[in-house]
Amino acid sequence: MSALTFELKQAPEEPLDLSALIPDRLAGMKAKDIAGLALPTLAGTASVGDYFKVTGKDAASLRFLGTTDRCDRIGAGSSEGEILVDGDAGAYLGAKFKGGTLEVTGNAAAYAGAAMSNGTIDIKGNVGERAGGLTVGEVHGMRGGRLFIGGNAGPYLAERMRRGLITVGGDAGEYAGARVVAGTILFQGKVGRNAGYGLKRGSLIFKKKPKQILPTYADCGVIEFTYLNLLERALKADGIKVRLGREAQRLMGDMAALGKGEMLILR
């Protein structure tokens, strides 16, 4: 069956809420009926067909073509199937994502993968602030699954993350990994100020040594870690080829919080 495809007719001026267009909700529906679904916008309510040309059948495999940063909440709350976004995504991409895969060829705005709990989100470009972080009213940020960011990440990446794995191919903004409860983040580029502020548990792994390290981190020296082998192989299985090496400088912190977390600065 051909993928159920949404092709944007023209770039919308107002933000669109696309959270209804997920495999869970569209299973068994015809393209014509989907085009008739209501689509909330800031200006009021339009229909899906007003903005998108809908073709194809297989709701377990969604395609969004030509989307822009006005297309909010793509894949938000989705729990199954695969979603491919050929273009950019707006805010809340894959927020509260529960399962399946979500791939974006372009950039995503704020809150990408925020409070996600399972599945894999793979963004080739950059993400805005608070990716993998909290959404309003949540106690924890990302609490499972994998969030792969090919480009740069905005500030407050993974705030209050509870579980799961994040990789950042480019640079990350300030307060990356702030108040993380547990989980693993791999930074391949540079990080901004105050990385790991308030870290309780969890691992922040840096390919490049951060310019500034909070004084509330305790240096434990350079040690060989079998764990790095495991992580490198797990990432390879997910198509992320990165050499982590065997040794890393370990700093435990944030001693101003619980202090059971770590920074591993690769050699």
């Binding site: 764990y227 495991l230 992580l231 797990a234 997910d238």
Partner: protein, 302 residues
């Protein structure tokens, strides 16, 4: 009884009687193959028979860097007991005392770990609060700080209730040296085979036992029917020219694996023909009423 002869060696028309066991596999890795081997040998050293060791265990095979989860040299170990709860205790104690303690090692599941036996799940408490849990692709690992860095241990490993213990071969020969040489060949042939171990010293046991004893409280005693020194005094199974009998005991994760190993063992023994003075190959059983698994020698070489 219709015994058959292969290259001059009599294959007695009998069967090995074996019992259901609960079995598990763990993978031990280390910086070098030497240290993975040391950990595995230590863990399975005192594990010949459930009669007094609590478990039967052994090295299944060595693993290359490309076969292990962390890319280091490894060894796969099989461990068997009569119940799941005993296996849990034995696994925890043996990995805790012999692998956790061994320089540089890590320990991983050798069977799918879902709802399996606790491994790092118990041993993490050695970390006294400094242990860290890491989940990678749905598998949980514990990083426990130790004096040489970190002991990495998977949370759980799987187990099977389809395991079988007590597959065996009895090799009757004209001389001790001949029996030993033939058995060594058989053990060597079985060594690379998957899903089985030969738990006794070097894979060979010289003190085959029967159930019970004249002494109260002695669960097992010498198999007098196969003792060459008692040939004339008891109802012996041995011909007068037999001087030594050695046994190979096989435990496996599946009955099929045991049958294959027995077949390979018999083939390796008879390939030597009568050169070593092997007279016959038999198997130990208790009349067929005790164990549900019967491995007929004729069938395993078919």
């Amino acid at each position: 009884m219709s015994d058959i002869k292969l290259k001059g060696v009599t294959i007695v028309d009998t069967f090995a009687e074996a019992f259901p066991m609960v079995g598990t596999r763990v993978i031990i890795t280390a910086p070098t193959a030497k240290w993975a081997d040391i950990a595995a040998r230590t863990m399975t050293g005192f594990a010949t028979s459930v009669i007094a060791c609590g478990a039967e265990g052994g090295i299944e095979r060595t693993l290359s860097r490309s076969e292990t989860y962390d890319g280091r040299p490894g060894v796969s170990v099989l461990l068997f007991t009569m119940s799941q709860s005993k296996l849990q205790t034995q696994l925890r104690d043996r990995v805790g005392q012999c692998v956790l303690t061994c320089p540089g090692t890590a320990c991983f599941a050798g069977l799918p770990p879902k709802k399996g036996l606790k491994l790092g799940h118990s041993l993490r408490f050695f970390g006294d609060g400094w242990q860290m849990s890491k989940v990678l692709n749905g598998r949980r690992f514990w990083r426990v700080p130790v004096m040489d860095g970190e002991f990495v241990c998977e949370d759980r490993t799987g187990y099977t209730r389809d395991a079988v213990g007590g597959g065996n071969l009895l090799v009757v020969a004209k001389s001790h040296a001949g029996a030993l040489a033939a058995c060594e060949r058989a053990v060597k042939a079985m060594a690379p085979m998957p899903d089985i171990i030969t738990p006794f010293p070097g894979g060979i046991v010289r003190s085959g036992s029967k159930v019970g004893s004249k002494y109260k409280g002695q669960m097992a005693s010498t198999n007098d029917a196969y003792c060459p020194t008692l040939k004339g005094a008891v109802k012996s199974e041995l011909p007068m020219n037999a001087e030594a009998v050695l046994e190979i005991v096989i435990d496996g994760l599946t009955p099929e694996a045991i049958a294959k190993a027995m077949g390979a063992g018999i083939k390796a023994i008879v390939d030597g023909g009568t050169r070593d003075g092997v007279l016959r190959i038999a198997a130990g059983n208790y009349g067929g009423n005790l164990g549900p698994h019967h491995f007929h020698l004729k069938e395993v070489i078919a």
